[in-house]
């Protein structure tokens, strides 16, 4: 069945350091992946996406890496700031359409 999960439930980093959040997926048929940030009391906020024909995509301070061989996705945040503290979810498109299958989330805590 479809299974998207995260390696680490919590991650604590110092302000200014780089953060790496990892995600494993099991559905080799997935061709679209996306990262969301969720702050307390808010809905998931789109960060960055990547299609399966790419292995890297960069945004502002964020990079997503996709390794299809081992079915692994990562989100790198450069120069992490206190405002980056949140829960981060990876998601993949479900086999049958455009709906998303979410992972369990990693809580990122940025300490000054």
């Amino acid at each position: 069945g479809e299974n998207v999960g995260l390696h680490l439930p919590t991650l604590s980093v110092q302000e200014g350091d780089n953060s790496i959040i990892n995600c494993a997926y099991s559905n080799s048929a997935s061709d679209y992946f996306i990262w969301y940030k969720q702050e307390s009391g808010k809905g998931p906020q789109f960060i960055i996406d990547i299609r399966s024909n790419m292995d890297k995509r960069q945004g502002q301070r964020v990079t997503v890496l996709l390794n299809k061989t081992v079915k692994h996705l990562s989100l790198q945040i450069a120069a992490t700031q206190p405002g980056d503290s949140a829960v981060y979810f990876c998601a993949e498109n479900r086999s049958s359409g455009y709906a998303l299958n979410f992972g369990k989330g990693t809580s990122l805590l940025v300490t000054p």
Partner: protein
């Protein structure tokens, strides 16, 4: 920046009652979704809607649930007879404006549904 809006932010309902959750998706989007998140758990897909019909639904979306786009701007989720286990955050999302392509889904801030 356009956003998805959801009302109410919090809904408290007696078990067995009907509840309607409302959403206004981003205006030029074509695809609409409902997800739910039980406290402390991951976001779960419920249903997707395109071209005025359900395009996909999960096993959670049983006969107690229905969706409707009653006009050009609103998208609603109805739970006919609520159960205690329906207590969760319900998120509406939309994506577009392209047809036939995966695009980022944009989420509202959710409705917290509490069943007593």
């Amino acid at each position: 920046e356009p956003e998805v809006t959801q009302t109410p932010s919090h809904q408290v309902t007696q078990m067995g009652q009907e509840v309607i959750l409302r959403c206004v998706p981003i205006s030029n989007h074509l695809y609409f979704y409902w997800y739910r998140q039980i406290l402390g758990q991951k976001v779960e897909f419920l249903v997707s809607f395109y071209n005025n019909e359900i395009s996909e639904k999960s096993e959670i979306f049983d006969d107690q649930f229905s969706v409707e786009r009653p006009d050009g701007s609103n998208f609603t989720l109805k739970i006919r007879s609520t159960k205690l286990e329906d207590s969760a955050m319900y998120f509406c999302a939309s994506s577009g404006p392209l047809r036939g392509s995966n695009q980022p889904q944009h989420f509202g801030d959710g409705t917290r549904l509490s069943i007593l």
